[in-house]
Symmetry: C2
Subunit: 123 residues, 2 copies
Amino acid sequence: MDDGIAIDFGETGLVPAVAQDAETGEVLMLAYVSPEALERTRETGRAHYYSRSREELWEKGKTSGHVQAVQEVRVDCDADTLLYVVDQEGGACHTGHKSCFYRTVEGENVGEMVFDPDAVYES
Amino acid sequence: MDDGIAIDFGETGLVPAVAQDAETGEVLMLAYVSPEALERTRETGRAHYYSRSREELWEKGKTSGHVQAVQEVRVDCDADTLLYVVDQEGGACHTGHKSCFYRTVEGENVGEMVFDPDAVYES
């Protein structure tokens, strides 16, 4: 899996990755990716990220079941940003919305709820 | 323009912003946004970013003419990432592609060329 475009992980060792729904084109979320997260994504076909707050590799949906099957990984012109084109199980957002971008900057809620977060993320 | 959701610009004073084509849903580019860039975007309706390399506010398309008319600015659940939903004039990428994400990580070119960069960015 060491073929292909050399990603510029920069000083932080991370690049932002945009997840987009393969079917609808909806932008679902943005998270950060380490070299290991990218390698695991390409190996398994399931989206992996790196949690900056928990400082650990993170498989999306491992706890909630809301996994992302990655159809394609794209790279931007500078090779410092990734685009994961995915089939999203359930919703991408921990709030229960399909997409994390469920609000306008003015504060209007324009997103679709697809699950009950209290039922999925039990304490 | 100081109403709405308080954006978390964090330690760097910048947040990533994803630009998405309003009509096709295509993810066009990712760049960074300062408080001033966001303010100018909301005031003018044209996408502004902050160039980390040039360390300055930047209006997309000011030189090339490939401006982005912003239909909507969305905010993610953590309020630390923006989504600009835009009408893209010409192409978003300086390489002449419609989208900066014109390659797969394997190196395959899957993007659409929409202009000749040599003609647009004259020396």
